[in-house]
Symmetry: C2
């Protein structure tokens, strides 16, 4: 599929956003086609950017008629390796683990939470949706048996690197971490981070503080 | 503070990650100073990148002695407008809203969840930590009275734009959205998105699908 050599990761990162909006259009609208202008308008992205991003992967639209929504969904699904569902392990059965294990947004988007672990014996055995929380000592055996390659971790900072090491050793190739630290992984293993505080601090940079005391006035 | 004109947003986005690691070092280690090499090593970022990022904001370190951790924390805290705590509204009291309202990671990092709303009358009145879930009809009055400028939304897709409009009209200037759609906001209002599926799809691009059927073999 890759027609122009290595694709910048920032481009790869926008494809899921295009796919999400295209799926929404396919579900809720009657139009069979869309244009880079229409898609861009819906996403706050320029039409030129969308055309350029998609052109890395081939020729998906026609001058004048635009993109066939179903075809573009199919192509993006293939490019992102989402034709088959990926099994996902969730480690940490606190509030966040609960939210993730019950998240309906995974449905039809390529992922399926297939196991949940916690080290807290009070949580082991609890039902989360269709799943039962397993003890952390079952992690390796379960991941190997179920051939799980993706994991989401929502554990305390103090154990996050150790859990990461165990997951990677068990065969996990991609990790989504909700733990607010940098994790070390071997070459070839993907890590993506989600930290609400990091996201909010990036925004407060652009805001004017509500209450500024004398000592803090800008110098 | 801004000594070299407009700072690229990608640089701004790395400052919270530097601050997070510096705070961790200040809490758990005896060292009073660090270097761009040490910090970079901990974060998987090159030392040159760190020096370049920080140089946008001034001269924080000395050749040979490195950065004084406490001073750098203080400066980054000021640059990111975190000297005073920001009150945050959480809208949506499902599993995720629960996780956010109870998230201890906000403590000492500049944010404090001060109100939680849900439209579901079964959830109104429920205690979440120190807070009580309020009805969505109290949103405007509460946000105005508490002078809240930041909000986190974890509501169904179908009501997300309407809630966003209400929050912005009530005075919210920055939104962290866990809803998997693009939100339209007026100029000057910040939005940051968190969608685990978008993050995971970006990673599967780099993975080899486990089971590839004949029909999907790359063409």
């Amino acid at each position: 599929m890759n027609v122009t050599g290595e694709i910048p990761d920032i481009v790869v990162g926008r494809l899921p956003i295009y796919l999400r909006e295209l799926n929404r259009m396919a579900r809720s609208e009657d139009n069979m086609t869309t244009s880079s202008r229409d898609l861009g308008h819906r996403l706050g992205i320029s039409s030129a950017q969308i055309r350029k991003d998609l052109s890395h992967f081939g020729e998906f639209g026609k001058q004048g008629t635009g993109y066939h929504i179903g075809y573009l969904i199919d192509q993006l699904t293939q490019i992102l390796h989402l034709k088959e569902e990926w099994g996902v392990a969730v480690v940490g059965a606190g509030y966040l683990g609960h939210a993730l294990a019950n998240y309906r947004g995974f449905q039809d988007r390529g992922f399926h939470v297939v196991c949940v672990f916690d080290k807290d014996l009070d949580k082991v055995g609890i039902k989360m949706g269709d799943l039962t929380v397993q003890g952390i000592d079952e992690l390796e055996e379960t991941i190997d048996r179920m051939n799980v390659e993706m994991a989401i971790i929502a554990v305390p900072v103090s154990v996050a690197q150790e859990i990461t090491d165990r997951l990677v050793k068990a065969g996990v190739k991609a990790l989504l971490s909700y733990v607010p630290i940098h994790l070390n992984v071997p070459e070839g293993v993907q890590v993506s981070y989600s930290d609400p505080v990091v996201q909010m601090q990036r925004m407060t940079y652009y805001l004017t503080p509500v209450a500024t005391t004398a000592a803090e006035s800008s110098t």
